[in-house]
């Protein structure tokens, strides 16, 4: 089964417009102006869905849908924000739990009906949905387990982040369709063979990326002694100008490289400032015990970024039996969005959309988190996927001992 950039774009837009409509109906009901920051379509491991919700407390609505597409759709608000919504609809109601709950349910119902209707209209088919159910919970736990996956236990997830003026992200819309019908539908919408993407290989690629992330996490552990786990790995599709939008103004420290080979592109390894200090302290032979990020810390981060970059891309090169070269790392220390913006712009000279590979690793022991983001050239990624021999997908390791 093959999809193409056109079909991905069609569905991404559909989800984005649906989210915009939902946001507009909320504005109508509550007077609260919010904007859809970004909508992305991601292929992701079922277990990793909702990771971006972190440990926050959420409330929202959930319902199932059936018809041209089947699955679940969910709208979640940060708990702190619901008060404002409820108050604006029914002053005084936010102190009353059951009234508050019913208000959230109603807002959610109206918002999501518009969302689903948009899909049905576009597909020219009917989509039935179940009555909305009120949900509450912490982080990803609030989301349903998700519908049927493909053989690789991955799902296509449509996800919109919606923000209030001047605030960070405040609510999320998820649409989790069953894998097979979604894949078939996207294949139907594919227009040409020329830029086709073999959908099954995308899932295999995702698993290879997961291994790359695990390797990078091992590298962190070996070098710093911090026990690190690979958390998430996903591939998303967005218009190129939306690539920087998933980042905020928070400051990050890390490295950027350009890589060349099959495919070429850019790769970022990022740490929030606290994590950067934590991991750099772990790397130093002598403890610095500094609360500030020093030049020594940065030097250590630069080399760690270099090693993590290799850990991440080597598996890919070995499976393809080609080499992927990368430039020496460039150290960055700036606002997240400003870091990724020049990379997206460089790709944007030749393509209107981008595949973004996002990985995350963290540890429970200490406050530590690290992210890897890869931005491959779209056409070269397609070609590389075409050449990918699925049978070799586990041949990510190279043994120097056998060659020397």
């Amino acid at each position: 089964m093959k999809i193409d950039v056109q079909s991905l774009d069609t569905f991404n837009r559909l989800a984005h417009e649906g989210a915009q409509e939902a946001t507009a109906s909320m504005a109508q009901m509550t007077g609260i102006d919010a904007t859809v920051d970004v909508t992305k379509i991601s292929l992701i491991d079922r277990a990793d869905i909702g990771e971006e919700l972190g440990a926050g407390s959420f409330v929202g609505v959930e319902f199932g849908f059936e018809g041209a597409l089947s699955g679940d759709t969910v709208l979640v608000f940060e708990r702190g924000q619901t008060e404002e919504i409820v108050e604006s609809m029914m002053p005084g109601a936010s102190t009353d739990d059951s009234m508050g709950q019913s208000a959230v349910q109603e807002v959610g119902n109206i918002m999501m009906s518009g969302f689903i209707d948009g899909w049905a209209e576009h597909l020219g088919a009917s989509i039935e949905h179940t009555p909305p159910g009120y949900i509450e919970g912490e982080g990803a736990e609030i989301l349903p387990d998700g519908p049927e996956t493909g053989e690789h236990d991955q799902l296509f997830v449509f996800r919109s982040e919606i923000g209030w003026e001047g605030e960070s992200v405040n609510f999320f819309i998820y649409m989790l369709p069953e894998y097979e019908p979604m894949a078939e539908l996207m294949a139907e919408y594919a227009e040409t063979d020329a830029d086709a993407i073999p959908i099954e290989k995308l899932a295999v690629f995702n698993q290879m990326t997961q291994q790359g992330t695990e390797r990078a996490a091992e590298n962190v552990q070996q070098m710093s002694g911090i026990e690190t786990e690979a958390e998430v790995s996903q591939i998303s599709f967005v218009p190129i100008e939306d690539v920087p939008r998933q980042f905020g103004e928070e400051t990050f420290v890390g490295t950027a490289v350009e890589f060349t080979g099959a495919p070429s592109g850019f790769l970022l390894v990022l740490f929030d400032e606290q994590s950067a200090i934590t991991v750099a302290e772990g790397l130093m032979p002598v403890e610095m015990d500094s609360d500030e990020l020093t030049e020594q810390h940065k030097m250590a981060i630069e080399e760690l970024g270099n090693i993590m970059t290799s850990g991440f891309v080597d598996g890919w090169a070995n499976v393809l039996q080609q080499s992927v070269d990368h430039t020496p790392p460039r150290l960055v220390h700036d606002m997240g969005r400003a870091i990724i913006d020049p990379l997206a712009a460089q790709l944007g000279q030749h393509q209107q959309h981008a595949f973004v590979i996002d990985s995350k690793m963290k540890t429970d022991e200490v406050e530590f988190e690290s992210e890897i983001h890869a931005l491959p050239n779209e056409q070269e990624l397609r070609e590389a996927l075409d050449e990918l021999d699925v049978e070799r997908a586990d041949k990510t390791d190279a043994d120097a001992g056998q060659i020397f």
């Binding site: 400003a338 870091i339 913006d341």
Partner: protein, 173 residues
Amino acid sequence: MKVYDGSQTEQATDSRPERIKVGIAEYEVTTETAELTTSGLGSCVGVALYHDPTNIAGLIHVMLPVADEMDDGKPAKFADTGTELLIDEMEAAGADAGELEAKIAGGSDMLDFSEGGSGIGDRNITQVRETLTAADIPIVGEDVGGDHGRSLRLETETGNLLVKSANREDQRL
């Protein structure tokens, strides 16, 4: 209980002026008292236009220098078509194009991997200058280039453009 009938309800505004976010490849023009903000400019450029007599203000966040070959129906993405679009929209809102003033910020060359020639940040700035010059709009303030990111806030009451960076002092243009 508040009754809503499908018509837009205006919320009572608090003392803080309304903040309007301008995303990448987006623009906003306003005749109201507000703050137009855009964040995380790397090689991207923010162009602020201001019409002092009426306090009409506009802000655009462009990403790439020229639209010609990549034309994808998103004029606000490019320095040339985006700046032109913003000028048009300022006029449509009632500003006299002959009285507009511009302030620009961004166009850093951080993380530019292009070999030889000038990077995207530079080319974005050059293109914005060209388009503004062609429209006879003076640039009365700028904070461009360098190797750091910027966030912007345009105050419509004064036309002041506040430039924030991660590791530098704020600047007021």
